[in-house]
């Protein structure tokens, strides 16, 4: 098998094995109801994780997405409360701000030659700070359009529902896969992750691509914020804390190399589902405590990092003694 597929195969195998184990213990877990909930509950995380996948594929990291989600939610809630604008208009505004914000961070990363970690850390503080400036309290969203949107769903046989936001997440993944593998921008993202210096020598527009990557991540974080506001019907500046960590974990568990250059957007979806499955299992079990989620995710993270390290080591040795 092509070695680039091994981490992805491991992810899929783990997911199937875990689901099989869950099913053996709780046959109910194979219902469309559970699957539909799995998609709905993880929609905002999944959408944000697609952006994170691109950032990590390019060899960077984006710590700001949790804060951008919170900011978008508060922004929407406050604007809807205080103006007569239609939610769709507000969505466009919010997405514009989030995209600009991401692009600005990309520009700073490239032009000031600063590590993405620290630049997006500043972005994380700034976005959450702006959310607080808009409102410190949780602002409920009562616009009738929200109820309409929540009413959209596709009924699966067996009573499960693919909600609007669950469906949107799947759509984002499909578009993300297309962008990653079927556009020049996608190829440039992989090229940057393979080596920024070499990519530059091969003619990749490094500045433009870097800015676009972080703008895309910002855009998807904004979209995730919209989804989150639909999910919770409120905007709260303290929400979505630490989502960036969950997203990073999903990307790595999805088989993407944290050092960049190798991985699949589709893998991230499996990563999200594995994490959601752990949570669902703990809910089903009832006696297990929620902290096992974090510990298990940490262990999975460690396992995948070791797996990737092992592959790098093997391929280096193979080349040396070839």
């Amino acid at each position: 098998m092509n070695p680039r597929y091994v981490p992805l195969a491991a992810t899929v195998a783990i997911f199937l094995a875990a689901y099989a184990l869950c099913f053996l213990q709780y046959p109910n877990m194979l219902s469309t109801r559970v699957i539909g909930n799995l998609l709905t509950d993880n929609a905002f995380l999944g959408i944000a994780a697609v952006g994170m996948t691109f950032v990590i594929l390019s060899g960077g990291i984006d710590l700001s997405i949790g804060s951008v989600i919170a900011f978008t939610g508060v922004f929407i809630a406050v604007v809807l409360e205080n103006t007569g604008l239609h939610p769709l208009v507000v969505f466009v505004l919010a997405l514009g701000i989030a995209t600009l914000f991401g692009g600005l961070m990309g520009a700073i990363i490239h032009h000031l030659e600063m590590p993405p970690f620290i630049v997006t850390l500043a972005g994380m503080f700034l976005a959450r700070g702006m959310a607080f400036v808009l409102s410190i309290d949780s602002v409920p969203i009562k616009h009738p359009f929200y109820a309409v949107m929540k009413g959209f769903y596709y009924r699966l046989p067996g009573g499960g529902r693919i909600t609007l936001i669950g469906g949107l997440m799947l759509l984002v993944f499909v578009v993300g896969i297309l962008i990653a593998h079927r556009t020049r921008f996608g190829a440039n993202v992989y090229a940057l992750g393979g080596g920024a210096q070499t990519a530059r020598l091969m003619g990749v527009p490094v500045a433009r691509t870097t800015i676009e990557i972080y703008a895309l991540s910002g855009f998807l974080a904004g979209l995730s914020g919209i989804v989150f506001s639909l999910y919770t019907s409120a905007g709260y500046s303290l929400s979505a804390v630490g989502v960036e960590l969950d997203a990073i974990a999903a990307v790595v568990i999805g088989g993407t190399l944290l050092t960049g250059g190798s991985g699949f957007v589709g893998g991230t979806l499996i990563g999200i589902l594995i994490m959601g499955l752990i949570q669902t299992y703990i809910t089903f079990d009832g006696s297990l405590s929620s902290w096992w989620t974090k510990i298990l995710i940490g262990l999975l993270l460690f396992g995948f990092i070791l797996l990737q390290k092992g592959f790098l080591y093997l391929s280096k040795n193979k080349r040396r003694f070839a």
Partner: protein
């Protein structure tokens, strides 16, 4: 004498900024500078700054060394939660104070050892290696406290959080003493120089006979120890271990303190004193905002502004630009002189 002068020169920007921040706040709130003596203990906003800033100051000590080795430790917040939980669990199950403290410190160092082995032996990037414990650590802490806030009423342990010594709150005494002790340890021995050499050029250091692997692991162990002390203080302060919130996001504040202290994120030359001043600058701003009646959340925007400012100042591009301006300025001066 010369060494002292160059040291003060190194710390000058941080000292100036700290003084400026304090002056600015006291202009708006003259009470800020007032100190009172009550029951043999000093009270006042300045003491408050020192006290509230204790956890970040402690974390910044370890973080300074780790960053000097060209690394980073994202797990310190989670390690704080673990160690606070361990201390609370140990004291509530009837162990002695000494045993409890030793256990919590040992657990912190064990966490550091784990990180150090991942970085030095398995050669995993520090940011990735320490991410594992950052994610899992809080779960481990919750496992220990079983999800609840584990409260205790052992007078000895509480004293660490709210007692006082020589008129100063215990947390202040602890971070000052620990900071001075670690500074002496690295500067009175050769450790400081060896760590700097390792951070600047690991390969050349290894070729010169420096045990770079051992030093790296030691740096992460120190960081774990600092997190353990900070965790004990945080737990003692609220008389309980809160696995959810103890040390939450403090790793970022600690990194910020190191950066505000003028230490390069790319490793090498470091100053613990400067990082501690950085931690106090951050805390003074926090307190100032609190006093001014702004919501404390404004801190975040100020922190973001500080990072951007430092980024711009440290950026190689901007530095080149400044150097260019400097050169052309001196060239102009030279031309003017020739004209005369």
């Amino acid at each position: 004498m010369n060494a002292l002068k160059s040291h003060l020169l190194r710390l000058a920007p941080q000292i100036v900024v700290l003084i400026a921040v304090v002056l600015l706040i006291s202009l708006a709130f003259p009470d800020f500078l007032t100190l009172q003596m009550q029951n043999g203990r000093i009270y006042g906003s300045l003491i408050d700054v020192l006290n509230r800033g204790a956890p970040v100051a402690l974390l910044a000590i370890g973080m300074t060394i780790v960053i000097a080795t060209r690394g980073i430790d994202l797990s310190v917040g989670a390690v704080m939660a673990i160690c606070g939980a361990v201390a609370a669990a140990s004291i509530t199950s009837g162990h002695s104070l000494v045993y409890t403290l030793a256990l919590a410190l040992a657990v912190g160092m064990l966490c550091g050892l784990w990180n150090g082995i991942l970085v030095a032996v398995l050669d995993i990037q520090p940011i990735i290696a320490t991410l594992v414990l950052m994610v899992a650590g809080r779960g481990i802490a919750q496992l220990i406290t079983e999800g609840a806030i584990l409260t205790f009423n052992d007078a000895g342990l509480i004293f660490i959080g709210s007692g006082s010594f020589l008129g100063l709150p215990m947390p202040v005494v602890i971070w000052l003493v620990f900071g001075i002790a670690i500074t002496l340890l690295v500067r009175r021995t050769a450790l400081g120089m060896l760590v700097e050499a390792l951070g600047i050029n690991r390969r050349a250091s290894t070729l010169s006979g420096v045990s770079t692997g051992v030093l790296l692991i030691a740096a992460y162990i120190l960081s774990g120890l600092c997190a353990a002390i900070a965790g004990i203080i945080a737990a003692a302060d609220i008389k309980g271990a809160d696995a959810n919130n103890a040390g939450l996001w403090l790793e970022l504040d600690a990194i910020l303190a190191v950066v505000v202290g003028g230490n390069s994120l790319l490793g090498g030359r470091f100053s613990i004193a400067a990082s501690l001043l950085g931690a106090m600058i951050i805390q003074a701003i926090n307190t100032g905002i609190l006093l001014s009646g702004f919501p404390p959340e404004f801190n975040l925007i100020i922190k973001a502004a500080i990072i951007v400012l430092i980024l711009v100042v440290q950026s190689p591009r901007v530095r080149d630009l400044l150097a260019w301006f400097g050169r052309s300025a001196s060239r102009e001066a030279a031309v003017k002189q020739e004209v005369k």
